[in-house]
């Protein structure tokens, strides 16, 4: 007996994990992964079982916390956006060396087309690099099913398993059939091979040989995976390989009936014998890949019969941005112009009068007051530079503020301002939000304090993680204490409410602290208008 629910891809994966005996979920918010932990926080069974679902300070701490739970034999997952995996890369890659005890799922949600991110990096390369298996659901049902399957795979192979989502699956809803009875959580138990968890060179050398030897098992698991499929078809002029959600776009492009044989890839390492069979039986291959050309690069080495392999590297599939049914149809036509059954809709032309409507800071947002005061303050200087960071306040780059010169990665505002000051730049101003500050700003601030770098750090504190929808921020109520604890000079640690009525005062404060040739911090504080509204509605 199964029940049907309408779930986002993120939620389906989270529910699947809860029903598979999850004991702890660890994450830092990041689009499009945020809804995974949020779902665990709200789910009644997860609450009843007291499954851990508190936000972590960043993805590295989340990954390590999940690894610690796995060490104790329980099922754990950590979820993050793709660039979050960069932050967690150290424990992630080394978790392949320790292996997993309790099932360990590392969920990375990629963002092709950069709907809400700074790059299109493809997390499958991370799994390859760390030499661990990866799963890639093509739809919400698979996302649900793969949680249980992934935990079992992780425990059977004693290795963490990466699960790669993409925005269009994370943030798309569909009907999902769910189990009625959840599995029990694992009992606490320790690793069978405890030495493997101490990554000193002598132990690591032994473990590395084992991890290499295990690769064969991982490939075998992919060959047998219920999520990889070989669809036979009559027309062997072309064989098509599609991963994850790209498989659905391919099916849509043919109205469900693809005349060419297709290999669907949803588990890695690549099932090479399945791919070899396709290669041997078809005149040419087309790889329609959501993400960077990972499979395509892997298959370049298969080219022993000199058959053509088409994909992103050959320009047949658009390399930039996410795929869709139309782009896949176009790619197929570029190889087989008369391919039968492809969608070919007539559509109205695009309207020429439509103007872009970029996102902007909300009316009533404190970041607005910070930027207008900062812009006023900086009018006094010849060539000020403002180093921005990741959050709603990155929108300060756009009109009407045009206030920041850089935005790179979480925490980079403070460290880049410091580097610029080291180079002789003045004023060098960093602007960072409270959640980003505790994610990755604190360590950089310590560098700047230790050298008394000539920078102004503005911490625009809205008491939440705003951009991702208002999750709890780990530093709420502690920002000044943290700065003092890092050794900030109390005379140059100033606080102000970011309100329109304080414009003149805030402008003067910024000027004073820019003119102080040393490390200054201004905490400009006002609750996020979105969370403030929600708090008011609750009362």
């Amino acid at each position: 007996m199964k029940t049907k629910q309408l779930l986002l891809g993120d939620e389906a994966l989270a529910l699947g994990a809860i029903y598979a005996g999850l004991s702890g979920a660890y994450a830092y918010p990041g689009t499009p992964s945020t809804e995974i932990l949020e779902f665990v926080q709200k789910n009644p069974l997860a609450r009843e079982r007291k499954i851990h679902s508190h936000w972590s300070s960043n993805e590295k701490t989340a990954m390590e916390e999940a690894l610690g739970m796995s060490f104790c034999g329980k099922r754990a997952m950590t979820s993050m956006k793709h660039v979050g995996l960069n932050v967690a890369a150290d424990p992630f890659v080394n978790s392949a060396m320790t292996g997993a005890n309790g099932g360990l799922l590392v969920i990375a949600a990629d963002d092709p087309s950069m709907h809400s991110s700074q790059n299109e990096q493809d997390s499958r390369f991370y799994a390859d690099f760390a030499m661990i298996p990866a799963l890639e659901p093509s739809d919400q049902q698979e996302a649900y099913d793969m949680a249980r399957y992934g935990f079992e795979l992780s425990e059977r192979l004693a290795i963490p398993v990466l699960t790669r989502l993409v925005t269009r699956l994370s943030h798309s809803r569909a009907v999902v059939e769910t189990h009625d009875t959840p599995l029990a959580e694992n009992e606490l138990h320790y690793p069978a091979n405890p030495k493997q968890w101490v990554l000193m060179p002598a132990m690591s050398k032994i473990r590395n040989r084992r991890l290499i030897a295990d690769q064969e098992e991982f490939v075998k698991a992919s060959e047998k995976s219920p999520f990889n499929a070989y669809n036979e078809a009559a027309d062997h002029r072309l064989g098509i390989i599609a991963n994850g959600i790209a498989y659905n776009y391919l099916m849509e492009a043919f109205g469900g009936n693809c005349p060419f044989p297709v290999v669907k890839i949803s588990q890695y390492p690549l099932p090479m014998s399945m791919l070899r069979r396709l290669y041997n039986s078809c005149d040419a291959l087309l790889i329609t890949e959501e993400g960077q050309p990972y499979i395509e690069q892997k298959l370049r080495g298969l080219n022993e019969q000199g058959k053509k392999i088409y994909g992103k590297l050959t320009g047949n599939v658009v390399r930039d941005g996410e795929l869709n049914p139309d782009l896949i149809a176009e790619a197929i036509r570029s190889v087989i112009p008369n391919a039968p059954g492809l969608i070919n809709n007539q559509a109205p032309a695009a309207s020429q009068i439509v103007a872009p409507r970029p996102p902007m800071l909300c009316q009533g947002c404190g970041h607005r007051d910070v930027y207008s005061a900062l812009n006023s303050a900086l009018e006094n200087y010849d060539s000020p530079r403002v180093f921005g960071d990741i959050g709603c306040y990155t929108l300060g780059f756009l009109k009407p503020f045009n206030a920041i010169d850089t935005c790179v990665d979480m925490g980079a505002s403070i460290t880049m301002a410091k580097g610029a000051a080291d180079a002789g730049q003045h004023p060098a101003v960093a602007i960072i939000g409270d959640s980003t500050f505790t994610h990755s700003g604190m360590t950089g601030l310590l560098d700047a304090i230790n050298e008394d770098s000539d920078i102004l750090v503005i911490i625009s504190d809205n008491l939440t993680t705003g951009m991702t929808g208002g999750q709890d921020s780990q530093g709420t109520g502690k920002i000044e204490e943290i700065c003092l604890g890092l050794g900030a000079d109390p005379k140059h640690l100033r606080t102000i409410d970011s309100l329109p009525k304080n414009h003149a005062e805030m402008t003067a404060l910024f000027r004073e602290e820019i003119d102080h040739h040393g490390c200054s911090i201004v905490v400009a504080r006002r609750e996020c208008i979105q969370t403030a509204r929600r708090h008011a509605a609750k009362k």
């Binding site: 049907k4 309408l6 986002l8 689009t31 499009p32 945020t34 809804e35 709907h115 809400s116 269009r168 699956l169 943030h171 798309s172 809803r173 569909a174 009907v175 959600i245 659905n248 776009y249 099916m251 849509e252 492009a253 469900g256 869709n324 049914p325 139309d326 149809a329 969608i343 809709n345 007539q346 559509a347 109205p348 032309a349 695009a350 309207s351 009068i353 439509v354 103007a355 872009p356 409507r357 970029p358 996102p359 902007m360 800071l361 909300c362 709603c392 929108l395 009109k399 951009m467 991702t468 929808g469």
Partner: protein, 198 residues
């Protein structure tokens, strides 16, 4: 049955509420459904859209192909126009006609109206005024849902059940206001649809 719908608007206007209600009704009817949403940065006053696909048969893609949408349903007229290349040959545009101007280079109202008038099948009226008249200003998304409903093969009672289920935690009054908005929008659209057929 098959309805491929592009829902459009400006971040914060409430298009996801429409998707939630239709989704719940479709689930009750045992229909297949896929609904791709936009979260994150663009929700801050930027253009937002959601692809909602309903069908009695399995649906492959979360995204609607170009020229594949049966309906463009929009809370804002320029946002309806943004997705024209997705509209099918027989497709309808259902839109609020009151511009939401939060950019400097927003086109003149006349050119928006002219552009909409070029399209053969359009239901466009002031949904905010109608919402204020029959309920509250905040119910204009329910007027829009009502206006779209004659073009979607789900019985209106089932949609009303879903509206009730969604808003009942906020109280009977809110439910009634939203249902009134839905019915008013629906009646107006039926009138326009019938005139078109005559």
């Amino acid at each position: 049955m098959k309805s491929d719908i592009v829902l459009a608007g400006v971040g914060g206007q409430g298009i996801l509420t429409i998707a939630t209600i239709l989704g719940a009704a479709a689930l009750k009817e045992n229909l297949c459904l896929k609904q791709a949403e936009v979260h994150g940065m663009s929700q801050r006053g930027g253009d937002v859209q959601s692809n909602l696909r309903l069908s009695s048969n399995p649906i492959h893609s979360d995204l609607i192909p170009l020229g594949g949408a049966d309906l463009i349903v929009s809370l804002e007229p320029m946002e309806a126009l943004r997705y024209l290349p997705f509209l099918s040959e027989q497709g309808w545009i259902i839109t609020n006609n009151v511009p939401f101007v939060n950019i400097d280079n927003y086109p003149e109202q006349e050119s928006i109206d002219a552009e909409l008038a070029k399209m053969p099948r359009v239901v466009a009226f002031d949904m905010e005024a109608m919402a204020k008249e029959v309920a509250t200003a905040r119910s204009s998304n329910l007027v829009l849902l009502g206006a779209a409903s004659p073009f979607i093969d789900i019985h209106p009672d089932k949609i009303e059940d879903a509206i009730r289920a969604l808003f009942i935690p906020k109280g009977e009054k809110i439910v009634d206001a939203n249902i009134a908005a839905f019915r008013a929008g629906r009646a107006k659209a039926i009138e326009i649809k019938e005139n078109f057929q005559n």
